[in-house]
């Protein structure tokens, strides 16, 4: 295979070099990922880092193209999300605008640095997070906003692709003003939209400005503290306006108070309020839901009778505007994706002002908590609040029936399958064969996150678990230490190995676990669309040649006694080596190395990009 000619693939459907075009005022039809990229480019972003994860991996691919045009821009695939976050945080600390997009699961990985990093008061630092209502592309529905609240940093939820571009840009400005990271939350429904966007000016001067890392500060707990004041818990105090700001204001520099953040947010025009004279009811529509809510309102023909608050800042919320809505209406419907996060804040505002307005939404069951909130769901809830039918009854019935049919059909849909020629399937089959022969049913297989997650489904049935990235080895070790008499197998993908598998392997060796680690090295991050990683092809996100780390050598350095690389397409060899590896006491590692079948074809130019 002509591996040396490898060029990282670009999904032209979702990523393009348009984002770098310096045509202010011109309109381009772009995707959500491109809009995020464009926002960052316009903001003069200097450092971008990320680990792949749907739906935002194409943002990096667009920015990688932009960096070839604006070479001062650094764009990287990092080895994991926390690494990416820390790299971008560092750039922000050095006074440059920095950006890290990730999938929601990435937030879970980032959380330690996220909470502490907010404390430092970084400026011009923006995160984009892709949440997945309905878990259409992920293993679970999770709501980033709780983590934002935990980390005490603001969240913006654009309502259209234009706004994605605009508010990404403005998020940098906001971040600089309030000295906090800012999160742009994207939900799946928005992530795969594409629409005309008017481009703005690119702030080259910001990108090209000088580094200004402040060595007078001690970047430990925020710059608000003149040593030796007790610094601990400062961020939490700051968030609640409990810092004795006055005493040292202006001495070493200071961070704005939380009340300042609230004020800024309150003043933002983004949270548009349409307030008729005598509204019959109110609607608060958050982010992506705004589009569908407006369509439902128009369909019902009640534009002029309801108060509409388009909410972009879901944390913190603009309380005054919410109060206005509550004052004027008897009932307010809150529409948002995943958790009743804004709704709970609205309830708190209502309680504080002794409002009698009924607040409807996910907490009251008017909108389901699980699965994507769709236009129909919104329309129904609106209709119910206004005492009218959203759709004619027959139509409703038809939809219900369709749902039943769909469910029935879904039950026939076969489980996800490996691509034809998948080397991971071949590797898994060889292992299953050998284990069957040697141990029968006395084998415990623990998977990890990647295409090889499909080992769990028939006909292979060669994996009993997969949890979060890098967890497989440690779960397997735990099962061993718990006293299992089974032969224990842990799988890991090559990208996952670099993501978080290495510490787990070190731990397994150090603490004398007895297991076989089967590295499914398909030379790419397969599941998310073939991004390179430190062990694949020696190439960076921006197509520059770099060092290629060898998993085999790393594992040897971890003092694993048995390490062998096999070609999973060679069944005999693979089974022979596996048999030997399985006999080894302690941790043994077999690396099944063969380029992902899809990627191989792409490299050979045999498939459309």
């Amino acid at each position: 295979m002509p591996e040396e000619k490898y060029v990282p693939p670009t999904f032209l459907k979702w990523a393009s070099g348009d984002v770098a075009k310096d045509y202010p005022g011109k309109t381009f039809i772009i995707s959500c990922n491109e809009a995020l990229a464009r926002g960052a480019v316009e903001a003069g972003v200097r450092v971008v880092a990320a680990y792949p994860g749907s739906p935002l991996q194409y943002t990096i691919e667009s920015l990688a193209i932009a960096s070839s045009i604006y070479p001062s821009m650094h764009v990287e695939w990092s080895s994991n999300e926390k690494v990416a976050y820390d790299v971008t945080l560092g750039a922000a600390m050095a006074g440059m605008r920095a950006f890290t997009p990730m999938k929601q699961l990435g937030m879970n990985v980032v959380i330690d640095s996220l909470v502490q990093g907010a404390n430092l008061g970084p400026a011009g630092f923006v995160l984009a997070v892709g949440d997945d209502p309905g878990a259409l592309e992920t293993e679970n529905e999770m709501d980033t906003r709780y983590l934002a609240r935990y980390a005490e940093i603001p969240v913006l939820e654009p309502t259209s692709i234009q706004e994605v571009k605009d508010y990404t840009l403005m998020a940098f400005e906001l971040s600089e003003k309030i000295r906090l990271p800012v999160i742009v939350r994207i939900t799946t429904g928005l992530a795969y939209q594409r629409s005309p966007v008017v481009f703005g000016k690119i702030h080259h001067e910001i990108r090209e400005r000088d580094v200004s890392f402040d060595k007078n500060r001690r970047w430990i707990l925020g710059d608000a503290f003149p040593w030796p004041m007790k610094p601990f818990g400062a961020k939490h105090m700051r968030f609640h306006d409990e810092l004795p700001v006055k005493e040292w204001e202006g001495t070493v520099g200071s961070l704005p108070k939380a009340s300042f953040t609230k004020e800024v947010i309150e003043r933002l025009e983004w949270n548009e309020l349409i307030l008729p004279d005598r509204p019959v009811a109110g609607v608060i529509a958050v982010g992506e839901c705004y589009q569908d809510t407006m369509e439902a309102i128009r369909y019902l023909g009640v534009e002029s009778n309801v108060a509409i608050l388009k909410l972009v800042t879901s944390f913190p919320i603009p309380e005054n505007r919410v109060r206005e809505v509550l004052k004027k209406t008897g009932s307010v419907l809150v529409v948002e994706q995943i958790e009743p996060f804004v709704e709970a804040q609205v309830c708190a505002v209502a309680a504080n002002m002794n409002s009698h307005a009924k607040i409807l939404g996910k907490l009251t069951g008017d909108i389901p908590v699980c699965n994507e909130v769709t236009r129909n769901i919104i329309g129904k809830a609106l209709g119910k609040m206004l005492g009218r039918n959203f759709l004619p009854e027959e139509e409703e019935k038809r939809i219900e029936k369709g749902k039943d049919l769909l469910l029935k059909e879904l039950s026939f849909i076969s489980p996800p399958r490996f691509c034809p020629g998948c080397p991971e399937l071949a590797a898994g089959f060889a292992l299953k064969t050998v284990c069957n022969e040697l141990y029968g049913e006395e084998v415990t297989y623990i998977g990890d996150v990647g295409c090889y997650g499909m080992m769990t489904v028939p006909p292979l049935n060669a994996s009993y678990a997969n949890l979060s990235m890098g967890s497989g080895i440690s779960i397997a070790s735990g099962i061993y230490h718990a006293g299992s008499k089974d032969k224990i197998i842990a799988y890991i993908g090559d990208s996952t190995f670099f993501h978080s598998g290495m510490p787990a392997l070190v731990n397994a060796v150090y603490n004398k676990a007895n297991l076989l680690l089967y590295v499914l090295d398909n030379r790419t991050t397969g599941n998310t669309g073939h991004q390179p990683h430190p062990g694949a092809f020696g190439i960076t996100a921006t197509k520059q040649a770099t060092k290629m780390l060898d998993i085999e050598e790393i594992v040897k350095a971890f003092q694993v006694d048995f390490v062998k690389v096999v070609d999973p397409y060679d069944f005999e060899e693979t089974t022979t080596v596996l048999k030997k590896a399985l006999e080894v006491e302690g941790v043994s590692v077999v690396i099944a190395r063969r380029t992902c079948a899809l990627l191989a074809q792409r490299i050979m130019g045999l498939m459309e990009k």
Partner: protein
């Protein structure tokens, strides 16, 4: 998105792939009545019991009886023997048979033909033929000397092997399909039957005349015949035997006699037989059962004379047997001189074999061993229109062979009466068999122990004729059935490897689905070619 090759694409050579599918798998080949064993076992594993029963009933009208008494040659042929242990095929058959015994649909029988057939003997051979002929539309009458139909199954085989109520239930179900049965009627000649309007006569009289030997003391009190002993027990009698019993004989009947004796309370039960242990005609598992129950087995030992006092048995003088068979394998025992010894006994049971009772049929030609001589193809005896089947042709054999012979003779009679061409019989008997030794075993089969079958422990078997084996419960049956490798239908590539490019398809020349490689998907990784147990997957080379 279309996928193009990484290497040469592959295709399945359908001849090589199907070479093994075309053969009957070893278990089925070994089954005298050709039951589709993998078929019904797989159905059981999927919980489809009534479909499984249908598959069995196609060939075996007595699932519950066969599921208990059959000597299961299928299990000896099972491929699992080479990996761990064979599938418990017989007990799985019993499981579905028993489970659905109350709900078996009655096959509707329409009498479409004018001819009628007389069948003498209601053993498994006679009843099977009767059932087949009735299904073909003939009028069938079965004559049975005893009060109950069923032959050896209901008259001799002990209840701890096949309880009488189960056997009767199953036999009655079969008779209900419209077969006329006349019990208590001993037939002594065929001419009357022809005169009475039957167009064909089937002799299925079994082999029920006990063989005897000529040694002194044979007529003393306390010497009894094994068969009549078993028949008495089956009829509810409990003969007085005394404390010490000797059973003479090395076959299954002898073992059954010994085990029955244990159940009647005898303290010391001996079996003596001429054969060496490994030569004994009895099935090994039956011998084991008897040993478990405390029976003392003396092999290579022959009877010399029966010791009596006041014309009552007191013991048996025995002599060592050096060889039972001569060089040609013929029965011709030789004994060691000066090797006499005595075993004390109150009762001696003679179970050294049975022969045919041909009284009334002396004009029909017989073989040197005293069984009816039949044409191997037409199964007709020397008298036109008179057929024979079962033990009275083969000599004492087995239940399933009697059923097999019943099936074959019914076709032969049908052909005689003009129902079918003789040629069709030939193909039936000529199924393409296969041997376990040649059968390719795919890799990666998990060794799984055979599911245990609950059994009465040896101590609690004494004093009762309750069944030894209690059979599988549902869960156990399903688990056991799922061990089946389904040898007849190879889909190894699809069912185990599961590459998405491999799909089931139909082939106009074949009655079952076959695997195929979808060339729109195959990228030519070549893995399937390495794992196919039949080496039936080959690369498509350039230009080929």
């Amino acid at each position: 998105m279309s996928l193009k090759p990484i290497g040469n694409q592959l295709r399945i050579n359908i001849d090589a792939c199907q070479a093994w599918n075309a053969k009957r798998p070893p278990c089925r080949s070994a089954c005298p009545v050709d039951i589709d064993v993998p078929g019904y076992v797989t159905l059981i594993s999927k919980g489809k019991y009534s479909e499984a029963l249908d598959v069995i009933m196609e060939k075996m009208p007595f699932p519950s009886i066969c599921g208990r008494v059959c000597h299961h040659p299928c299990e000896s042929a099972c491929i699992r023997n080479k990996i761990d242990q064979p599938i418990a095929i017989r007990d799985l058959k019993r499981f579905v048979g028993d489970r659905l015994i109350g709900e078996r649909p009655n096959q509707e029988i329409k009498q479409t033909k004018k001819q009628s057939v007389a069948i003498i003997g209601s053993g498994p051979a006679g009843l099977t033929a009767a059932h087949d002929l009735a299904l073909m539309g003939y009028k069938v009458t079965v004559f049975e000397e005893l009060e109950k139909p069923g032959g050896m199954v209901t008259s001799c085989i002990p209840d701890y092997r096949i309880p009488i109520d189960i056997a009767e239930k199953e036999i009655n179900l079969l008779l209900e399909t419209g077969i006329k049965l006349r019990t208590g009627e001993r037939i002594t000649g065929y001419s009357k039957l022809f005169e009475n309007g039957f167009q064909a006569v089937l002799l299925a009289m079994g082999a029920k005349k006990p063989k005897s030997i000529n040694i002194s003391g044979m007529h003393a009190k306390g010497v009894i015949s094994g068969l009549s002993f078993l028949r008495d027990i089956k009829n509810g009698k409990r003969p007085e035997l005394g404390e010490r019993v000797i059973v003479m004989g090395g076959g299954n009947v002898a073992i059954d006699c010994a085990q029955s004796t244990v159940r009647l309370g005898a303290k010391k039960v001996h079996i003596i037989c001429l054969e060496k242990r490994e030569e004994m005609p009895a099935h090994e598992w039956q011998v084991q059962e008897a040993l478990e129950e405390g029976v003392m087995l003396h092999t290579s030992l022959g009877p010399f004379r029966i010791i009596t006092s006041n014309n009552r048995v007191t013991g048996l003088e025995t002599i060592k047997c050096t060889n039972v068979f001569d060089k040609d394998g013929k029965f011709s025992p030789t004994f060691e001189e000066d090797s006499l010894s005595i075993i004390k006994a109150d009762t001696i049971i003679i179970a050294i074999g049975q022969e045919i009772d041909i009284k009334g049929f002396e004009d029909i030609e017989i073989t040197p061993s005293g069984t009816f001589k039949v044409d191997p193809l037409t199964l007709e005896t020397s008298v036109p229109g008179v057929f024979a089947a079962g033990d009275c042709v083969s000599g004492p054999a087995s239940f399933v062979e009697a059923v097999q012979s019943g099936h074959m003779v019914s076709e032969a009679i049908d052909s005689f009466l003009g129902g079918r061409d003789l040629k069709t019989l030939q193909t039936r008997r000529n199924n393409s068999p296969s041997l376990a030794e040649e059968w390719p075993i795919p890799r990666g089969i998990i060794r799984r122990k055979r599911q245990d079958i609950a059994q009465l422990d040896p101590a609690s078997r004494k004093g009762t004729f309750k069944e030894i084996s209690t059979g599988y419960r549902e869960k156990e049956a399903v688990r056991e059935a799922s061990r089946c490798l389904n040898c007849g239908i190879c889909g190894y590539c699809i069912e185990n490897f599961g590459c998405i490019a491999m799909v089931w398809t139909t082939n106009p020349d074949l009655p079952y689905r076959v695997p195929e490689i979808d060339l729109a998907l195959c990228v030519g990784c070549g893995v399937c070619g390495q794992i196919c147990p039949h080496k039936a997957i080959e690369e498509i080379r350039d230009g080929g």
